[in-house]
Symmetry: C2
């Protein structure tokens, strides 16, 4: 008698991401029981062995692992697009908006939900959400049904700025203690929650923004919980300046000296890291998150991912924040990663489509410490899969031989809006392009209302900023 | 009594693209009569003066000029995605497919229609289609309702290759005569067709691929018809090598010496042009088409558009061909143009959102010789407009003040799939995301069937190519 599965996909162009390539199966099938993948193979073979409560004919569609967004600040979304095309993106544009947004938790959460919806619709199934207060933001992931590996973003920076530009930050130990308390609360309530769909990481904002004592506490806690440390590393010249001033060394040598360079570390950005420092970090087993879109817009920089790849494959992609990317879409990150690195190397052969697809799936999973759970279609792994309709004009036609065009077209042509179904932890959370767990239209309306309500308050914070570059652009009719 | 318009849009966030910025009107309205814009302004003002056969409430939406794809080869679409991530993209990947595709006019036309549909759905209203045989391909634009400025791509290259790599091409005057005959046929039948929706340009494939005699004929014909010459210029080192070998000078000095550097010229790519040559060409009044996506993928190069802009604003964007971009979507081109140029200059202030939006609308219109007809919303211009729904999660929320986020989010976050309506020449050709002029699903099915039928024929052409880089990628399971 045939074994009964919960869900069985048949006749899909399947990318298992097993092995060193993309693991293509032309007439592929996938069986799911509970929240796990229980069978992967040819359709004929699975149809012979299994029946299922629901069988989905995926003819004309690609079935593949859900995409992993390895670095995202969902709480920033309500101020999407308010600052770019300038120097000092943060001070001249984000800051006045951020002051208002971050004093309104309800608005922050509405933006976060909007961002999660945006990600799901573009095929993201796992979000490494790096934000604060995470005990609240994580509720959105619980509700939306997304896999989330979350960190409370912590630092020891005083609430009121007490130093001038270029001066060494004076830390506020009370601030640090409060943020570590939030971290402990997050771990105790949510690490492993929702049957393991939610897991927690440690989240120091940067080595320059926490005292060494605090960093040591973080390190101990990461050992205690056997989890990752997700941290901005070498993210700007200001950070490097602080580190040299405080410790007499740049960030990466400092982290090495203090025992942070190992497989627990997820080093985000490396914008200011030299190729040599990057290779050194890669050899230690640490992972890297490359945010091609946001760093391209904000800094005009292509981070040293090519140097990282010389030593390690633990390279993941992240979409960062909505203000300064300005989207959170892993198809966008894959295409930018490929083309920006080709142009940096002046070589069209680097960062090929298959490699960047791996960076958004299996290699990302390994970098963020979930390599045994997600990132590829293998029996025993969690059932996070997406279905992409290849009959959209921009993905057509599908050519199977002698050269197959599916993977190049997913990386270089897909926009995310072709993802028609998303299954996370065995549960269908999007079907026929519609979310099943949250009301998209209502979430958009609520986010819009909260953003509109912020406008008068933000105006107050712009007093004295009438001649900043963005305000000049407004006056010139460029926005 | 109020004057009756055919179509009146009200309550739209309107980008007229008038003046030097984006011409934003917060509660904007636009009236259309026949194929022309007859009124632009505030909603109150237009509602007071006009009624209309159909009034469209565009609340929550952006109304703006349709996008211009200033360089596209629609005939190549059926082989989308068969060649990238390698050197010698053309010889090692495209060539065997092209041999089969281009010997089957029906397949070529099905691909072309697919490409036109892709473009319309992403907001393109004008296509500078550079292909052959254009007398056939232009029928797709007539049927789809798109504005097309078309050129028969001509050269004097013999049908059977008669020279080794690096040797000077031997031209075939018979071939040239036949192609000029096709050009004359195109002009006589289609220049100004469809009430002016179709116009023709001259289309030499490159200065290296036509004899000087043929180039002189082309020049004379451009004068005779008072139209543009659309030409690949400095598109590769092979071209430059041919020019130096034949004439003792590089392409741009050669064009200058022979009277081609003026407002008639639309110079495409400039991949191999020096900054100095580019500035020289810009000063002459010639336009440039920048194909950021395709040149990034194919060559890993960011063309010298920044140098061009030092001297001229006649810079347009183009999507080139589906094999080697791999999409034809002006939102993709805008975002890549901004970010690639920021990274080339290591400066986030260059190529700001408003500027690249102009490059896809008004500045493009001027570069391709249609500056008086399209590219901005002004009374008297042709009615080519698109409506973009800003309630898509990735474009939300809309913030109006103190900093407006609409234009940055259109350039850095929109994917094209948010375009809900398209009006070309006063006629609605897409409404509620559905094409009104062609059957999209049927066109996709036909293109897929034609592509699948090509597979066995293409295999024949791959004989002896088993060890080329793409075939190796197939063997390694990377595709």
């Amino acid at each position: 008698m045939k074994q009964e599965l919960d869900l069985l996909f048949i006749h899909a162009w399947t990318l298992t991401m097993q092995g060193s390539g993309v693991g293509f199966v032309q007439d592929g099938a996938l069986g799911i029981t509970g929240n796990r993948i229980t069978a992967v193979g040819e359709s004929d073979e699975l149809l012979e062995k299994y029946t299922a409560k629901r069988v989905i004919d995926a003819s004309g569609k690609v079935l593949m692992p859900g995409l992993i967004d390895a670095h995202i600040h969902t709480g920033d979304t309500l101020i999407r697009g308010v600052s770019q095309d300038i120097h000092n993106w943060m001070q001249h544009g984000i800051w006045p908006y951020s002051q208002v947004l971050r004093s309104d938790l309800s608005a922050t959460l509405k933006g976060s939900m909007l961002n999660i919806i945006e990600g799901i619709k573009a095929g993201t199934t796992t979000f490494c959400d790096f934000d604060s207060p995470m005990t609240s933001i994580v509720q959105n992931h619980i509700k939306a049904g997304t896999r989330a590996r979350v960190a409370e973003m912590v630092n020891e920076m005083p609430k009121v700025k007490n130093t001038a530009v270029g001066e060494l930050y004076r830390f506020d130990p009370d601030e640090g203690r409060e943020k570590m308390r939030l971290t402990r609360e997050l771990f105790s309530k949510y690490n492993g929650a929702e049957n393991g769909r939610i897991t927690c990481m440690l989240g120091p904002q940067g080595a320059d923004m926490c005292s060494l004592d605090m960093l040591k506490d973080i390190q101990a806690m990461a050992e205690e919980y056997n989890t990752s440390i997700h941290m901005h590393v070498a993210q700007g010249d200001r950070e490097i300046g602080q580190m040299v001033q405080r410790y007499g060394k740049r960030t990466i040598p400092f982290l090495e000296e203090n025992g942070f360079l190992n497989e627990r570390l997820i080093a985000v950005h490396l914008t200011e890291a030299t190729d040599e420092e990057t290779r050194f970090l890669a050899r230690s087993g640490a992972g890297m998150v490359l945010c091609s879109g946001s760093i391209g817009i904000i800094d005009g920089i292509v981070p040293p991912a090519a140097a990282f790849l010389q030593e390690s494959s633990r390279l993941a992609l992240g979409s960062d924040q909505a203000p300064g990317n300005n989207c959170n879409n892993m198809f966008n990150e894959m295409k930018f990663t490929a083309i920006l690195n080709k142009c940096k190397a002046k070589d069209p052969t680097v960062f090929p489509a298959d490699k960047v697809l791996r960076m958004a799936t299996i290699e990302s999973a390994r970098a963020i410490g979930l390599g045994d759970e997600i990132g590829s279609l293998e029996p025993g792994k969690k059932a996070d899969v997406i279905l992409i309709d290849m009959s959209h004009p921009a993905l057509s036609p599908v050519i199977l031989s002698p050269i197959r065009n599916i993977v190049p077209n997913l990386v270089y042509s897909a926009k995310g809006s072709e993802v028609e179904m998303s299954v996370i932890d065995g549960k269908i959370i999007m079907e026929n392009y519609r979310l099943c767990t949250v009301d998209e239209k209502e979430a958009v309306r609520e986010a819009q209302a909260a953003a509109s309500a912020m406008e008068p308050l933000v105006k107050e914070h712009f007093k004295g900023m009438e001649d900043t570059p963005l305000m000049q652009k407004m006056k010139r009719g460029e926005l």
